[in-house]
């Protein structure tokens, strides 16, 4: 039972990270119908930027740990968001009216570019987050120790998702984003500046992805240049699982995927850990072809 509870915590931690990355995929898909293959690499850049900021500015020593983390998180969010905006402007906007697969190939090019840029800037070795920024407090719960940082990370991802949910569903700009996702032409006629909305989505999505990268560093301590690939693929699976384009779907999909994967690895098979998520995806899509919360679109075949 104790082990089970521990696994739930682990599953929620990783699930929260998947959900944050998945939000970036799903929002971009919502407005552009584009799979942003470079999103996983923006996430990796977030992890590396976080590490560099911690180390080079000596933030770890001079500030209280949690204050330093919050500060770095905001900086990472801003920097990666800007990068996402630049990416949209240069690699995707010229292909807005082209076939969707052309944009996918451009995204693949961007992904290769970013991955190798990270490789050139930081090198191919594993990096370890400094111990001083990883709070070592252990909270004891039901008689067992759980690192406090896990709870903080779960809390932070839930908080970010709630803010996003509020933003999308309760503000005027959020409504404009939803309108642009449903029908760009009609949104334009209603006086919405669709270009600005798309640019905004490319700030929010990568921003959240960057923070998720930082969270991986804080939770597991270790980052490497190719981690965007597996996290990105899983997060995209999560987005599809929840029904792509659907924001609450991405959140639920991420959490479910994190839990299923962690529990599956703990109780079924560790060797097939990375395959579990894909089996789940295929099963769900066979039963519900548009994901858990996906809109029902008639596809008669």
């Amino acid at each position: 039972m104790e082990q089970f509870f521990q696994q739930i915590i682990n599953g929620l931690t990783i699930g929260g990270i998947y959900a944050l990355v998945a939000l970036g995929y799903t929002m971009v898909y919502g407005v552009l119908k584009l799979i942003n293959f470079a999103h996983g690499d923006l996430f990796t850049i977030g992890a590396y930027l976080g590490m560099t900021l911690f180390v080079s500015f000596g933030l770890a020593g001079s500030l209280p740990v949690y204050a330093a983390i919050i500060l770095v998180a905001l900086m990472v969010m801003g920097l990666v968001a800007v990068l996402g905006g630049v990416l949209e402007r240069t690699a995707y906007r010229p292909l807005r009216n082209a076939s969707r697969l052309s944009a996918v190939v451009s995204a693949v090019g961007a992904s290769i570019f970013f991955q190798n840029a990270i490789l050139l800037l930081w090198g191919g070795n594993y990096y370890v987050y400094p111990e001083s920024v990883r709070p070592t407090t252990i909270v004891s719960l039901f008689g067992m120790g759980v690192p406090a940082i896990r709870f903080v990370l779960i809390g932070a991802s839930v908080l970010l998702m709630l803010i996003l949910y509020w933003f999308i569903h309760r503000t005027k700009t959020g409504t404009a984003i939803r309108a642009a996702a449903i029908d760009q032409g009609a949104a334009k006629l209603m006086g919405i500046n669709v270009n600005r909305i798309i640019a905004l989505v490319f700030l929010i999505g990568p921003g959240l992805g960057g923070v998720a990268g930082l969270m991986v560093g804080l939770a597991y301590g270790q980052i490497d240049y190719s981690m965007g690939f597996s996290y990105g693929l899983k997060a995209f699976t999560a987005a599809i699982l929840g029904g792509i384009g659907n924001i609450p779907g991405a959140m639920i999909g991420g959490l479910i995927l994190g839990l299923v994967e962690t529990l599956g690895a703990a109780y079924l098979t560790i060797a097939w850990k990375d395959a579990i998520s894909f089996f789940v995806l295929i099963l769900i899509l066979i039963i519900r072809p548009t994901g858990i919360l996906g809109e029902r679109v008639a596809e008669k075949l």
């Binding site: 898909y29 090019g109 894909f278």
Partner: protein, 334 residues
Amino acid sequence: MIRSKSSNNTMKNAHIWLFCVFALFMALLPQMLNTYWTAVFVSVGLGTLLSLSLNVILGQAGIFHMGHAAFYAIGAYVTAVLNTRFGIPILYLIPVAGIVSALFAGLVARPIIHLRGDYLLMVTIGIVEIVRIALVNDLGGLTGGANGLFGISRPEIFGIKIKKDLQFYYLIWAFVFATLILFHWLNNSRFGRALSCIKEDDIAAEGCGINVAHYKTAAFMLGAFWAGMAGTLFAAKMTIISPGSFTFWDSVLLFAAVILGGGSQAGVILGAFLVFGLPEIFRGFADARMLIFGLALMIMMIIRPQGILPPRPKKFTISEEWQKKIQNAAAKDA
């Protein structure tokens, strides 16, 4: 559109000429290459073969398929297992590997073929990852885990053992040219027309009496069959195979080659040359070579969003008998 027969023939002749010139060029090319570049063109040839097979699925039928390396892997592993365990000669294994790949493709395609574009894309990525992980986990004790299998023998044709890069060059490119002819013929057949129709609008295709799910599955299996055969050639060329050769990224590169090329045969060849050849040309940039390659991929896509050489829309001539019938009908209406 009704076209006169003669201009159609000129077009046809131009194609045949282009094909012959290209074949001649590729036949003479090794004379100008050192061993390193011969080896590069062997892998470009394999890439071309795979891209052509993916083109049936992605370019002709318009199915978003990003897991082609799975079928390639199955062909290579079937070859390796049967050859190392039972000593079956490589040449006999070429069709066997193709058939096993095609059967696997049929099995996985049937339940998922109706999925909407991007969902299907994700599922095919899932398949390629599941296959890779299965290979790493030494499925059934056959695949040798992460180290893979080694000791695959060389193919033997008319008593000549194919082992030098130059020999593989001719074997693989001969295969490519045979494929070109076959797929060209297929593209103009009833099957090819059905696929074009499905690609343009699958609901309209269904309305025209084309069994869409059936044809899509068939396209999937045909592409997988060819990828499986390419897998045999790869296994025989390398003599060592491991799961690392069949990753998601290999699938993505094939996908990029087809889209970049635009979908016509000449385009796909060009796409394969760019995707599999450019990283070698950029070798001078040392560490930055893949960085430049990523950038080049983006720029090429932005310059030619429709691909370098998209296929011309198909044109059909109406026989004189029918032209008369149409004219008569029109006269009647008037």
